[in-house]
Symmetry: none
DNA sequence: GTGTAAATAGAATGAATATTCCATTCGTGA
DNA sequence: TCACGAATGGAATATTCATTCTATTTACAC
């Protein structure tokens, strides 16, 4: 244990955390990482609660406190209890505070995106057709291989979806058209395409969907309306109305839907 | 003691306080008055501390708690502890419960992800440091070229960021390590790196940040806590606590923050 | 492999804390 | 002034919790 005096305020606490963060053994590192991200919980939790949340034994938390220079957990907790402000402002007030910093300022922008994200999620929850969702999952879970395509603004979604499926051991192939290759030969019977596209729709995405159709392979799509060319090409189409702010959309709703599909498919597959 | 059920949130607590405040005996009135004015202290104090602050005996505080309908002080305190900060819901076990209970239908999953997204966004709104955000935007806006890196789970964010910057005519270069090329030669004086990484941190991302440092180029990062290796390597670091649900995160907050950066930088550049 | 030190888990301990109980005080109506 | 019930203070108890200790495991150097 260092002879340095223990941090007596939250700021010093964080600084100290950075200091000691090198070469920490596994469990102590777990403590450090959890507490770094949840400093606000320290004031109102017991050792056992923090330990469980961090995934370690209570004794590990104690060792961590001592490593930080405190005599024990209680002393450390006292620091946070003293600096404990009144319960955090509600959501509306926080947004208001962010906006106050002036229209067009980064904080005000963030407030807008946060709000837009909220609305999009709300929208999603109420507009998704559970039946279509179920059927989509079923079809994807039975696929030999899941092909994924999404370009331009939908590319990020396609990437994350591919990543999530891979992580769940679902055979997935992302068509990203690097080098302008279309990998049409990779389509095999029993495969299913998951296509993501929003207006203005990428020709490449729509073409790929057509190819799958032509070969009697399934097509599921995530798109924005029944006017989408993907709508008619798909066995099942999930629509997401992302609320726009300026020229950009935060994709919160689309990503949530995509992730839902990935996890549901992954789970369904591992059960069979 | 009333048979009415005890208030389970702060709002009801206040309402109940008003209800019972008529014709209270002296000491209980003291309790009520003190606690009404210091509700925020309840979560982080002991009975003895509150009693002393209110100028009464601990037993008086106990009687007050029971008058409010709680079984004792601990139950009342729990209400205030829970209401502070993000709800201590453990999504990992919730996911497990969902699966076990057979309620793991895709729609139920979606509902969870929507809720997680909401929480993450609220979290972001309250935890973001407006000053750091401003400085980050300034530095990025002045960069000759913005380099972007984000791998694995952060790759989708990096992609979307690059897309958004491109769309706003900001010179941006995404390091995606395809073909295991690191494009180290592309770093030039006046460039700035925007690095995105979450635990477990990709070595490639951290290495790239080191290279920028070594060449006296700026580094901005979006990461999850001050324990991140990126934290110390960055001129400015923005932290985002995305709420996990099972092994996955919906990235709602991260994407919103990323997009804010992109739009703010794009705007700042076009103004000069 | 073998030996050594560090790290860890989990039970055991002791301190702090909530809670109850009872003797005493206070207020009120005869 | 007395009687009676409510209110109170403070000590006694039970419970929860922080903290320590020790056996075991893990990591590392030889």
């Amino acid at each position: 244990m260092s002879t340095k005096t223990a941090p007596q305020n939250v700021e010093n606490f964080q600084a100290r955390l950075v200091e000691i963060s090198d070469g920490l053994p596994k469990r102590l590192r777990q403590c450090a990482e959890y507490l770094a991200g949840h400093t606000d919980r320290i004031a109102v939790s017991t050792v056992a609660q923090l330990a469980e949340a961090a995934g370690v034994q209570p004794s590990a938390v104690m060792r961590f406190c001592q490593l930080m220079g405190y005599s024990g957990f209680s002393e450390m907790q006292q620091v946070f209890r003293d600096s404990y402000g009144q319960s955090p402002l509600d959501y509306r007030t926080r947004l208001g505070n962010l906006r106050k910093s002036g229209a067009g300022s980064p904080s005000a922008l963030l407030a807008e995106f946060v709000e837009v994200g909220h609305n999009s999620l709300e929208n999603l929850a109420s507009s998704v057709d559970a039946r279509v969702l179920d059927l989509s999952v079923k079809q994807l879970a039975e696929a030999q291989m899941v092909h994924i395509v999404g370009l331009r603004r939908a590319y990020a979604v396609a990437s994350y979806l591919t990543y999530a499926l891979e992580r769940m051991s679902v055979p997935a192939f992302q068509h990203d058209f690097t080098g302008c290759l279309d990998h049409a030969h990779a389509i095999r019977s029993g495969d299913v395409l998951l296509a993501i596209s929003f207006a203005p729709y990428s020709d490449e995405t729509v073409d790929l969907a057509r190819q799958f159709r032509a070969r009697d392979c399934g097509v599921i799509s995530i798109t924005d309306s029944i006017m989408s060319p993907l709508w008619q090409l798909s066995d099942h189409a999930l629509s997401v109305q992302e609320v726009d702010f300026g020229a950009f959309r935060a994709l919160s709703a689309t990503l949530s839907l995509a992730l839902t599909l990935a996890v549901a498919v992954g789970t369904a597959r591992s059960e069979t």
